[in-house]
């Protein structure tokens, strides 16, 4: 006998659990199948625990720079175990919260791994034991993704780590190489650097954080280097010579090989979707380069089967996963929904200095054929930034000269991840430069730079 539901969601990450709750709100009977941990990567091994760690490393940074504010502290120290256990505690607390939310919304949770058994059918198993057979008219796959592994960068989680181990170190490495300078790599680089490790970042592209605006990348790189981090761009890790408690990393740059001996290596070279062992072969669902192929409403090639979040492709962000969940479920419920506008998905990196952006970069705007106006405003010229002692950074805005459409916004500096949503709201409401110019920003705040940047794009900035 199988249990019947209107909707079954496979995977309890920010994509899956949000979809389940929304569906229940819309009156569907919903089951959620999660094999490991409610909250997914985001909550257990991603967004949340890393932010807890980054906070502690920033405190360490502050303790070593107290002089600037008129304080002296002698012999500060930290206990790595405590930092890690704090981070784990934060994740656990939130995971418990998700379980409560699902219960409150009458979502039936199955503890096990789901595997499709033809359209509309799902087997749930754990440790080779059958948990349940489920049937549903609609099945959403939200199985997420995992770290990509490269052959010449063999991960052993002892000397060469992926993010899970990097988040739960037993001892503090004195030196390390971070391979990859995307959001995940650069956050770990920042974390370990601020705790005192010697960090070298190796990036295959010609700049760090390659998805960001060129100017932002350049400012970030300069800042990291000023802090004492080593950055190698256009560089490739060719191989590793593992020692007992250290690794020799062979790096090729400009046709020349360098060998670097470090305690540990972190591999952050992208992710692959969790498309295996979920029974896709029993359906018409298509997979392209480890990601499930969907249409703009998250529908796969098999009617009644949908995919959302990391398993459905880039950008690999928790809020994108959740939003897809909402769109997908509302579409199933027959509500009038619009597809997601990918140009309105903000991206945030919580390194030091922080980076946040939404929409087109300057180069992409030009490539798309726009006639653009660009505004910039430096932290240096903002009262609040100076008062905070955070004078490094910039807010950059890009407008379509013809219509005044805000095409993109790019920020680097303190707290920019908390500010970007101002521009996201603006973009979602389709404001033009005019409304932004007439918006009143509170003084003194960092957000005033967002105003000035817009003004600057039209040669009206007041404070530069």
């Amino acid at each position: 006998m199988s249990d019947k539901f209107d909707l079954v969601v496979v995977g309890g990450g920010p994509g899956g659990y949000v979809a389940a709750i929304r569906a229940s709100q819309l009156g569907m009977s919903v089951a959620l199948v999660e094999g490991e941990h409610l909250g997914g990567i985001c909550l257990n091994w991603g967004c949340i625990p890393t932010k807890a760690l980054l906070k502690t490393s920033e405190i360490n940074h502050l303790l070593h720079n107290l002089d600037q504010y008129g304080f002296t502290a002698k012999e500060t120290s930290f206990d790595l175990k405590k930092l890690v256990s704090r981070s784990r505690g934060v994740a656990e607390k939130l995971s418990g919260g998700i379980s409560h939310l699902l219960k409150k919304n009458k979502v039936k949770v199955y503890d096990g791994f789901g595997r499709l058994n033809g359209p509309g059918k799902l087997k749930v198993e754990k440790n080779d034991k059958r948990i349940a057979d489920l049937e549903a008219k609609h099945i959403i796959l939200a199985t997420g993704a995992r770290a990509r592994k490269l052959p010449n960068l063999e991960v052993d989680e002892k000397l060469v780590w992926t993010y899970k181990k990097a988040m739960t170190p037993d001892e503090m490495p004195k030196s390390l190489v971070v391979v990859g300078s995307g959001a995940i790599g650069i956050e770990f680089a920042s974390f370990y650097h601020n705790l005192g490790a010697e960090v070298t970042v190796v990036e295959v592209m010609d700049r760090v954080m390659p998805v960001e605006d060129v100017e932002i990348s350049a400012m970030a790189q300069k800042s990291f280097e000023n802090q004492g981090m080593k950055i190698m761009t256009s560089a490739m890790v060719k191989g590793l010579n593992k020692g007992k408690n250290d690794v020799e990393v062979i790096i090729e740059k400009d046709g020349k090989e360098t060998k670097l001996k470090v305690d540990r290596v972190i591999s952050a070279v992208g992710i692959v979707g969790n498309v295996e062992n979920i029974g896709l072969e029993t359906t018409a669902v298509k997979v392209d380069r480890s990601h499930i192929v969907i249409d703009q409403y998250c529908q796969t090639d098999e009617p009644g089967i949908y995919a959302i979040g990391d398993v459905a492709g880039a950008p690999w962000l928790a809020h994108k996963a959740s939003h897809e969940g909402i769109i997908c479920v509302e579409k199933i419920a027959g509500l009038d929904v619009h597809p997601m506008n990918t140009l309105n998905i903000p991206g945030c990196t919580y390194c030091m200095p922080q980076v946040a952006s939404v929409g087109l970069t300057e180069q992409k705007a030009i490539d798309a054929g726009y006639d653009i106006k660009v505004g910039r405003f430096p932290f240096m010229a903002n009262g609040k930034a100076i008062a905070l002692g955070e004078e490094e950074g910039m807010v950059k805005t890009i407008f379509d000269a013809k219509t005044g459409e805000l095409l993109g916004a790019h920020m680097i500096g303190a707290e920019v991840t908390e500010m970007i949503q101002g521009y996201v709201v603006g973009k979602t409401l389709e404001t033009t430069e005019k409304e932004l110019m007439h918006t009143i920003f509170p003084h003194p705040t960092l957000s005033e730079m967002m105003h000035e940047s817009v003004l600057d794009a039209y040669d009206k900035a007041i404070h530069i």
Binding site: H338, T403, T431, T432, Y458
Partner: protein, 441 residues
């Protein structure tokens, strides 16, 4: 607050006109309803009345100026006790021009110079052609594409950039808001009224100019079908009578003055009330023709034609004979608002026992409307016009309004129609005889 007097649009398609004559000079006192100026379009010359009262503070467009744009500020009216110096502080640049200047193509310093769109302390008011207008303001007001359109700023900017009439775009955003995507869609499909694109097209083989196709909405189709049937099937005849309005205008003014803003009755409200009462007096005119019987209704349910973007619609004032003028006036405003917003419920516009169509605000002197079946008659109301007449051997000016009753001869005979009009005329010319005028309930 000084009031800007704007060049009125005398018809929905009018974009500019000639200011032929000023009937008031700077410094003259102006009363609501006073003749202010004469305006000429390619179709007609029309008189323009003041809506508000005060002193004509400044004339900005001189007599004899040609091609004055609709909504241009032609004069400033000062309120009682206001000093002419306030005019100097007012922003008198043309709103239309400013929009152009603010457009992204203009260079920055020039934009800097353009003052803010709305300056404090003054209100922009559009004056309207002759007296019937207030109850039907919506019919006379031709809003530029910028006003009252529920669209995102970006959608508006994009439409403007592409010379697209955004009013024609269907919004699919939250609550029907027009978004960038909607405008892009409209730009792709020719149905989007893209005039610029259409202008670039060649004439066809028969020498006809390019056109913008607009799909017939269901409302449009229903209107077409019913009017065709009515005009073909119903034996119409027409009766016209002229009514003097001066007493009514005076009463209206004193009522509105006393109301101190609590309500504002229009000439059209009086017309509705008078029709309802006259139908009560001459019930044989309050009828519908059906094959088996003629139905004589016991209440006067008045359908009032309202022009909307989607076409003509006739919300109904039920049992209008029993309602006070003020109640009718408020109900009419509410229904007209709903009609324009497209939120009328079927019971609010289906039915009715008698119709009124008022084109006075467009300066139409008189016209013949098409009967709205199964109703037996419809009253077409024209503009009030000043006339020189002999009264007791002396010349006098009176304001005269011409109304024409279109009648379905199958159920209403000539004499009945005439009796109805006599009763109607009597109420209009002796408005206090509509006993419950001032009752506000």
């Amino acid at each position: 607050m000084a009031i800007k007097i704007l060049m009125p649009a005398l018809s929905p398609t009018m974009t500019e006109g000639n200011l032929v004559k000023w009937h008031k000079k700077e410094g003259d006192k102006v009363g609501a309803g006073d003749l202010l100026a004469e305006i000429e379009t390619d179709k007609a010359t029309m008189e323009v009345e003041a809506i508000d009262e005060g002193v004509l503070g400044k004339v900005l467009i001189a007599e004899g100026t040609e091609n004055v744009k609709v909504n241009a500020i032609i004069a400033v009216l000062l309120e009682d006790g206001e000093d002419a110096s306030v005019i100097d502080k007012m922003d008198l640049s043309e709103p239309k021009e400013k929009i152009a200047e603010e457009s992204p193509s203009a260079d920055a310093p020039k934009k800097e110079a353009a003052p803010a769109q709305q300056s404090g302390g003054t209100t922009g008011v559009q004056i309207q052609a002759p007296p019937m207008s207030e109850g039907n303001e919506y019919e006379g007001r031709v809003s530029g594409p910028k006003e009252g359109v529920f669209a995102t700023p970006l959608a508006k900017a994009l439409a403007e950039e592409n010379d697209l009439l955004i009013d024609a775009v269907i919004g699919t955003g939250p609550n029907g808001r027009i978004t960038k995507e909607d405008v892009e869609m409209a730009l792709q499909t020719t149905g989007g009224a893209n005039l610029k694109a259409a202008l670039a097209l060649p004439r066809d083989d028969y020498g006809m100019p390019p056109y913008v196709p607009e799909k017939n909405s269901n409302v449009r189709k229903v209107i077409a079908k019913r009017l065709t049937e009515s005009k073909l099937m119903i034996p119409h005849f027409y009766l016209t009578v002229e009514c003097e309005l001066d007493g009514l205008l005076a009463l209206r003014k004193s009522m509105n003055d006393k109301a101190e803003g609590a309500y504002k009755v229009s000439v059209n409200d009086f017309v509705i009330k008078a029709s309802a009462k006259a139908l009560k007096d001459v019930p044989a005119a309050n009828v519908a023709w059906t094959e088996g019987e003629i139905r004589q209704y016991v209440t006067s349910d008045i359908s009032v034609a309202v022009a909307t973007d989607g076409g003509l619609i006739t919300p109904i004032l039920k049992s209008a004979e029993a309602k006070s003028l003020v109640t009718l006036s408020k109900e009419m405003k509410e229904l007209a608002g709903k009609a324009r917003a497209g939120t009328l419920k079927p019971h609010e516009f289906q039915g009715g026992t008698f119709s009124i169509s008022n084109l006075g605000m467009f300066g139409i002197k008189n016209f013949q409307a098409i009967v709205n079946p199964p109703q037996g008659a419809i009253l077409a109301v024209g503009a009030g016009e000043e006339k020189l007449v002999m009264k007791n051997g002396n010349p006098a000016t009176v304001t005269v309004m011409s109304v024409t009753l279109s009648v379905d001869h199958r159920c209403i005979d000539g004499a009945v129609g005439a009796q109805f009009l006599a009763a109607f005329k009597n109420y209009i010319e002796n408005p206090t005889s509509m006993y419950d005028l001032a009752r506000t309930a």
